[in-house]
């Protein structure tokens, strides 16, 4: 289960606050996955005291984007902390998708990649197995051309226009020793961008959950 509690002293109109939380949630908390199980108790609450004494904020306020950016940054930071602390995890995985037909589809593709058990175990094993990544892209249900996909693991391009490129597996493995692994995919279908976060899948995940009630 994830729980999130956000406080602010901003003076924010209630309806605008609700819309802002929903949007920020879609772009952050709803973009994390540890084990693919959606809890019965997930909840995020935001409370705004209004004590900062600014003019009431809504989408028409000239500085609304600054407020929303700060709220979203706060949510993203918490979401990444949750993903990084996934049960048994040793690494945070960030997937960055570009070139999707929409931001929403980019997010869906990113979450499909980061939610793949085989991608997660490959990350644990420091194995730059791009085949598992393109496989996850393929079943994401999003618009794509199977022949125009680029994939990179950290700074290393592994696939260009869906064709494998010669890569130094040793260098990729070395990169994958880091605590945060970035996987990039460019679909070349449009301007949509999105991120998702998860963690590697380790033996400890099984150990922890085999004994959760006992």
């Amino acid at each position: 289960t994830m729980l999130g509690f956000i406080t602010t002293d901003a003076n924010v109109e209630p309806a605008a606050l609700k819309r802002a939380l929903a949007k920020a949630t879609d772009e952050t908390f709803n973009r994390i996955t540890v084990d693919g199980d959606t809890s019965t108790n997930d909840m995020v609450l935001v409370l705004a005291s209004g004590l900062a004494d600014n003019q009431p904020l809504d989408e028409t306020h000239p500085e609304w984007a600054n407020f929303y950016g700060a709220l979203s940054a706060c949510a993203e930071s918490l979401a990444k902390k949750i993903a990084k602390d996934g049960e048994g995890a040793t690494k945070l995985i960030e997937v960055q998708v570009t070139g999707a037909v929409s931001d929403e589809e980019a997010g869906k593709v990113a979450k499909a990649i980061v939610g793949s058990d085989l991608v997660k175990t490959a990350v644990y094993g420091k194995d730059g197995n791009w085949g598992r990544i393109i496989c996850a892209i393929g079943y994401s249900g999003c618009t794509l051309d199977p022949d125009t996909i680029d994939i990179a693991i950290g700074p290393y391009e592994t696939l260009v226009q869906s064709e494998p490129v010669v890569v130094d597996d040793t260098a990729i493995s070395k990169y994958m020793e880091a605590e945060t692994i970035v996987i990039k995919a460019d679909l070349h279908q449009g301007q949509g961008v999105g991120k998702a976060w998860g963690c590697d899948l380790t033996y400890d995940y099984v150990r922890i959950n085999a004994g959760y009630r006992t």
């Binding site: 602010t8 949630t25 108790n41 005291s49 500085e63």
Partner: protein
């Protein structure tokens, strides 16, 4: 990805939810977990504009129903949030709902605010009745302060550490803070709205 990062006006600072004007928190141990803190509260000095997003899992724990009701009946004004860890109060039937309402009532009495100004939240094992004797004494033991750590610890389950963040942004030449605290480690694939 540049769409999301251009024009950054905020900065991250050291702090947590109690470094925001109006907010205090509390955390205590009531025995839902063996040793660690397991019950906590957030309190706001004034009725706060509030909003929530909730799991879209069709099986929803009792506290979610109670919190949604609070938000609806208070026109989105909350002043206190009560959280327990160790027991999710999910799939606990009618008595689970009664327990969630009692938790809301006890927190309202403790902090001298209307019941509909209180949200309740639970996390932990699914399908076990909430041991209300422990919860009652835990609520009694809550002491509000500007120290955020006891609350951040009280909401944890299998997490290896607390999760807190605080950012600052200037709006209308006033410094505004937004801070958050979270928990989550397993059963994580949120789909909230």
């Amino acid at each position: 990805l540049t769409k999301q990062t251009t024009g950054q006006a905020w900065k991250q600072i050291k702090g947590s939810i109690t470094d925001v004007k109006g907010f205090t928190t509390a955390g205590a141990h009531c025995g839902l977990k063996r040793k660690r803190l397991d019950i906590g509260a957030i309190f706001c000095d004034v009725p706060a504009n509030a909003a929530g997003v909730f799991t879209l899992n069709q099986i929803q724990a009792a506290p979610l129903k109670v919190t949604k009701e609070s938000l609806a009946h208070s026109s989105g004004k909350l002043q206190a949030v009560l959280v327990n860890s160790g027991n999710a109060n999910a799939c606990t039937g009618a008595s689970g709902l009664v327990d969630a309402y009692e938790m809301r009532a006890l927190a309202a009495a403790k902090f001298a605010v209307p019941e509909e100004a209180v949200a309740v939240t639970s996390t932990g094992v699914i399908g076990e009745k909430m041991p209300m004797e422990k919860v009652r004494s835990g609520i009694e033991d809550l002491v509000l302060s500007k120290e955020s750590t006891p609350f951040a610890e009280a909401i944890l389950t299998t997490d290896t550490g607390t999760k807190e963040v605080c950012v600052e942004v200037v709006i209308d030449q006033k410094t505004v803070r937004i801070a958050g605290v979270a928990k989550g480690s397993g059963m994580i694939h949120p789909n909230m709205a």
